[in-house]
């Protein structure tokens, strides 16, 4: 039984030159304890569809779907107040730019304690103690001291750890990670991915990982959705996807990986996908 089921999700943006469809009739579902990777290049709508779930899109966006069911409740039929009890508590999200995701004017401790006080009704003292525990859980050294740091005093990897601590603070059922390691060095990327997988297993939460990086998919996902220009191209378990990709676009993506180069030139998307893919 999936924890989140989305059917026929469409997101349109009103622009000066008319409506633009960023997500075009996508179905997504994720089960408890499952890691789902949504992979695509820029313009594939991979982030927009999850921002629609979180209700984080600007007013110019029109979101429609047949249903968007989280744990038995249709998110589309909830009032704003009812939605807020789920979003940010049961479903949380982390983003690509950890330093930009944090408020530079407050200590990281203040920001995570705020989450705990507002969402879980903790007192300042309880929140402070719990924040230190969470910092420990995400592998920040000297948590009691680091909690008083401002975001600019921490590295990108550490800021992402703080974001992850905030995201798991409420014991969510589903964590959505939007390109969580794209801005980070490869050795730090490995640490953050390992941390996400460890927390996912320990807490038994579902994880949706949005990425453009097939390497990240290979290292983390149970199941994969491949998107291109707002449409779903293919959905498969991770092994089948890499072993026997069905859709020409997936095949094109995999063969464009430099490590899969066979000749002295790389095949490009247009070799597989006709002129449209090359645009």
């Amino acid at each position: 039984m999936p924890i989140l089921t989305i059917r026929n999700l469409t997101v349109r943006f009103a622009t000066a030159t008319g409506a633009f469809t960023a997500v075009d009739g996508i179905d997504v579902s994720v089960s408890p304890r499952e890691v789902l990777a949504i992979v695509g290049e820029s313009g594939s709508g991979k982030s927009v569809s999850m921002l629609a779930v979180m209700g984080l899109l600007p007013d110019t966006a029109t979101v429609t779907a047949d249903e968007m069911i989280f744990d038995g409740t249709d998110l589309l039929r909830l009032s704003r107040a009812e939605r807020r009890r789920i979003i940010g508590r049961e479903i949380t999200m982390i983003f690509q730019e950890p330093i930009a995701s944090l408020n530079p004017s407050f200590t990281v401790g203040f920001q995570i304690e705020e989450v705990l006080r507002l969402n879980l009704g903790m007192s300042r003292r309880e929140a402070h103690a719990r924040a230190i525990e969470l910092f420990q859980a995400v592998g920040i050294p000297e948590p009691a001291a680091k909690i008083q740091s401002y975001p600019h005093q921490m590295s990108g990897g550490q800021c992402q750890r703080v974001m992850i601590a905030m995201a798991i603070a409420t014991n969510p059922r589903l964590l959505i990670a939007d390109e969580p390691t794209t801005a980070l060095d490869v050795t730090i990327q490995k640490q953050i991915l390992d941390l996400l997988m460890k927390l996912q297993e320990e807490h038994g939460m579902a994880l949706i990982l949005i990425t453009h990086d097939m390497g990240v998919v290979a290292e983390t996902a149970d199941r994969v959705v491949v998107q291109y220009k707002g449409r779903k191209m293919e959905e498969a378990d991770v092994l089948s996807l890499f072993e026997a990709p069905q859709h020409p676009y997936t095949r094109a993506l995999l063969s464009a990986l430099p490590e899969n180069a066979t000749g002295d030139r790389l095949p490009t998307v247009s070799d597989f996908f006709g002129a449209e893919g090359a645009q």
Partner: protein
Amino acid sequence: MSIVVEGNALTQDYFVAGGLFGKAETIRAVKGASFAVEKGRTLAIVGESGSGKSTLARIIALIDRQSGGTLRIDGDEVDIGTRRPSPALRSKVQMVFQNPYGSLNPRQKIGNVLMEPLQLNTDLPAAERRTRAEAMLIKVGLAPEHFNRYPHMFSGGQRQRIAIARALMLNPDLLVLDEPVSALDLSVQAQVLNLLADLQEEFGLTYVFISHDLSVVRYIADEVMVMNKGEVVEQGSRDTVFSNPQHPYTRQLFAATPETDIEAIRARVARRRALHAH
């Protein structure tokens, strides 16, 4: 084979001025890099942020003067601090930057982007400059009708083609490419890497290719130099470095790079299944 670019114990110091809150200090961003690249070959410099790879690239591209050590281009010692490089020397070495959105002037038409290096460094007549710019557009996979368009009308991959075209206008021997494909989508990255390989073959270009991405480096490099915190920790031919990395940092870098081969995925999936079975 002739050596196009050679560095000997190159160092770079940055002076950080003291202020209200801090003491003045000197930071050594590059701690002695030596290398030589033969004509038509590619040296890849690999490292993470803070490794000094871009600082070294700026020295090689004659943008910054090194603090110590010597740089030779085509066998001649170059020190831009004591003598301004001649137009002939400037023409020999060109650079392509990471972000094609930032490296093109949004108010300059593509045609002018390409003709400007000729205007500054040669005395070719206007008609000839235009002919060469149009020919170059075709060479990098664009079309002559793009001549009068502005950068915002192009995608990221097309802009990087324009940046490469600009760098090639002066028929350089050496191209310094600082993360030229890391801002691009995977499928566009493949096209730009192919273009670079085609151009290298056609013009006998020598590349110094800065990258953090080991799979790209493995694909494009002949020689590899690994940097960490300003230090060159390992260098050698691509095959030696990749098949038998010596330095712990290089090994750490390889271990952290995600693997996409089927056996690695199969093993991971099996581990996860076993974990869930408990």
